[in-house]
Symmetry: C2
Subunit: 299 residues, 2 copies
């Protein structure tokens, strides 16, 4: 059965789509046709390959978010400047397409002038979080490759800041000298120790990183312990730098269950309480808002 | 003509050797037979390949330093614990060899128990620096992949600390999202700005890193400017964390002319004056000390 509309999350490495009806998600599909491997004229075909089984008579609206709207993507949806609502219907970019069965719109990202910062995709998750939790005021944290902290008030993103935390973790764990001392597994006590050190002495990060190697060589630090402490050090350093965003405020975490759980644990150590939402739920809720589907469903 | 002895600097990626006589260096040779690509039983052959032309009648002493003495190297020269002299003749490890034309000794590295830290190779450079500059008391900085700061007093290494600065720079410049915004070239003003930011707000490092990307996207930051600011941010953060090592003390920099020049520039911005020595000169002077050649030459 033809969906009312199609939600698309199109990032650098993945393309995910959901067939949406009044009752919610009817079907989902994904491929690794991320923006990073597509030339400009290959996007429409990549999308059709994935959603063709869902298309029928008439025009199906497709609403997408993520890097697909960047300058190197399918069609540029220029950044909107904060402070502003994370996403509003009137600002979507209409993409010219050849296939008469679809109409495509892309959500614009957000930018901040000073200090310079950008997001693409997270604005849709923030909009979705506000749809799922109307009236939320406080800090929204989206942990990941490029962790984001946003201050949200009266339905607007007031300001935000991005941290290279997740990417740095992956580079260090997979490509640096530290990889020799890390292995699968996890030890909460070492994660907690790393968070405490990272938070109290974020300025020592580059020395604390080498210490992981040295303790592996001369003090018997195990692979799982080193891995958990590395994660803790980086998240602790992020929380130290982001303190102005979260201290004393309600905090909403948006991400995978794994990541939101360790951020919640680190923040709880500081006496901060958090609530967590799934990134996928927020993305779909945000796209639905942009598609006007929530409004239509309410009619 | 057969050298009096042979100096060898054998690291993870390179093997370098110098034929030494009473007058100094007679010849040099190098290969990429670093420790990282050799199995334990391949070291002697790799060494002979390089120095064979220099060997004659009798036994030529070979003195080596670096990762060749690690547990994964040719023959383990166990770490000595600071505080101690950086290198003394009696502590070299004698390596069993098959070729009757050589005798081989390896300099042991140094370790520190708390906070855990290790060095291999740099202890020889520090010993060499003290041979070239007898009586030096103060801070010795060895910038590089794993930057070291050592406190030296009365001919001993009192304590030291390693920073992942150089490795982090390479990972970020070559493998992270920042690589899209960096290019060859350099702008001193942006390096200085990065040093100032890194030094005054080292806790913001992971946010400052992403800002390089954001400014490239929305504020026109050029590739050479971004590259210089990245270097400045990391060196500034290192100097902030190492402040206890250098503030108010004489500082000796040991490294390549390129690296010592930018560290000297960054430290000069803080009102600290430095002197620089070439890493190769220090390595050879340290190995000569270990070989007893300086003593012999003085006889």
């Amino acid at each position: 059965m033809k969906p009312d509309w199609i939600a698309v999350d199109w990032g650098t490495t993945h393309l995910r789509a959901w067939a949406m009806g009044a009752e919610g998600i009817r079907a989902s599909a994904e491929s690794d046709d991320g923006m990073g491997r597509l030339s400009r004229d290959a996007f429409e075909a990549a999308l059709i390959r994935l959603i063709d089984p869902w298309l029928g008579g008439g025009v199906t609206p497709v609403v997408a978010c993520g890097m697909v709207g960047s300058r190197q993507g399918w069609f540029e949806a220029p950044y909107r400047t904060v402070p502003c609502a994370p996403l509003t219907q009137g600002t979507l970019a209409h993409v010219p397409v050849k296939d008469p069965r679809i109409s495509v719109q892309i959500a614009p990202g957000l930018k901040q002038t000073k200090p310079a910062d950008v997001m693409r995709g997270e604005e849709t998750q923030i909009a979705g979080a506000l749809a799922l939790d109307p009236g939320f005021d406080g800090a929204i944290c989206l942990p990941g490759t490029h962790s984001k902290w946003a201050q949200v008030s009266a339905g607007e993103v007031v300001s935000f800041q991005t941290f290279l935390t997740g990417e740095l973790y992956a580079l260090l764990a997979e490509h640096s000298v530290l990889r020799h001392g890390l292995s699968e597994g996890w030890e909460d006590a070492y994660f907690d120790e790393g968070v405490a050190e990272g938070l109290s002495h974020p300025e020592r990060l580059m020395a604390q990183l080498f210490r992981l190697r040295a303790e592996g060589l001369i003090a018997g630090l195990s692979g799982p312990a080193a891995r958990a402490r590395l994660s803790g050090l980086l998240i602790g350093a992020e929380l130290a730098a982001a303190k102005a965003w979260w201290l004393g405020l309600p905090i909403l975490l948006i991400g995978s269950s794994r990541l939101t759980a360790i951020y919640a644990r680190a923040l709880a150590m500081q006496g901060a309480s958090t609530r967590s939402l799934s990134a996928t739920d927020c993305t779909i809720a945000g796209l639905a808002l942009a598609a006007g589907a929530l409004t239509r469903a309410a009619e």
